[in-house]
Amino acid sequence: MSVNWGALGVVTIVSLAIGVLVVVLVSLALVGLSAREPLRDGELASADDTPIIGHGRTPLSPAASTAVAALCLFGAAAIVLYGLYVIVF
């Protein structure tokens, strides 16, 4: 019995790469978009309570953070659209 392990490996690696990358890019974009909102009283500067340099939520200015967020969203959208292009055509 011959099992096409190569194709199964491709499914694993490509799914892992795409799934994780898209979620990470969207997460980074949301952090970037959060830079416009100031930290509330009592809110920790980060999950592990380490000080964050700069404007609170990110080390970048709100404008730069928004630009990075846009880039991340663009990257996630590009990955999804390229995937659809490969599947459809």
């Binding site: 019995m1 011959s2 199964l8 499914v11 799914s15 959060s34 980060s46 999950a47």
Partner: protein, 249 residues
């Protein structure tokens, strides 16, 4: 029967796909929570909520590229076997249309009981987990469809949801529910094979046998529907389940 082909092309991908989806969702969820820990709560929740609209649409697309094809394939194979189509024919348009409409109708009708099990009984799912699970499911199904592996969207989505719940906190997953689902999966394949074999045997005896199979099928469908009405799960009560346990993010 080409059993080796069934194992390598059907059984193995069916067994591996929920595991792969679960691992992808676990890693993606863990990273999503780590990365967005310093984000504004409102922005993060709203962002993932909007993202879920897109990721859910991708899962629906993936569902159509894989599950609908299996139905079309079986109908087309039956038509070829019966001599209604030449051996090298593709699925006729009416087969594609009916399979698509049937899947759309099934999706529209809800499957509320499955939604309740996966959305409320496994763990209390938050928007980052939902987004990660849906993205993982869509990625696994679409890549598999592209390489010609038939999968079950339900099984892949279930693996993703368990992975997403474990990615937030391992202890938040109701592993008893996971065991029940695993047993149901184990029983489904041999049960379907046995029912299919009996139905094929009876139908092959002639017209009367075919009518008997059809009548039994309709009767069983009506019985299952009647049983489901004893404790109906609808859009109104799908969320009326006690949360498994409160978990701090």
């Amino acid at each position: 029967m080409k059993f080796a082909g069934v194992v390598s092309k059907v059984l193995l991908p069916a067994v591996l796909s929920p595991i792969i989806a679960g691992v992808v969702a676990l890693i993606a969820t863990y990273l999503a929570y780590r990365i967005t820990a310093r984000g504004a709560d409102g922005t993060v929740k709203k962002g993932f909520k909007v993202g879920q609209i897109i990721s859910a649409s991708m899962v629906a697309l993936a569902h159509g590229t894989n599950d609908a094809q299996k139905t079309m394939g079986i109908i087309t194979l039956t038509l070829i076997t019966a001599g209604a189509l030449p051996a090298d024919a593709g699925p006729p348009f009416w087969v594609i249309l009916s399979a698509g409409l049937a899947i759309a109708l099934g999706t529209y009708l809800g499957g509320w009981r499955i939604i309740q099990t996966l959305g409320k009984r496994v763990s209390e799912i938050q928007t980052p987990q939902g987004f990660a699970a849906e993205t993982s499911s869509a990625a696994v199904i679409l890549v598999s469809s592209h390489l010609g592996f038939p999968l079950s969207t339900t099984q892949v989505a279930t693996g993703s949801i368990f992975g997403a719940c474990a990615g937030r906190r391992l202890a938040s997953v109701q592993w008893g529910v996971a065991g029940q689902i695993a047993v149901a999966w184990l029983l489904t394949l041999p049960a379907a094979a046995a029912v299919g074999a009996v139905a094929a045997g009876v139908a092959s005896t002639g017209t009367v046998g075919t009518v008997i199979v059809a009548v039994v099928l309709v009767g069983m469908a009506a019985g299952i529907y009647a049983l489901s009405r004893r404790r109906p799960v609808t859009a109104d009560n799908v969320n009326n389940v006690p949360a498994p346990q409160p978990v701090a993010a």
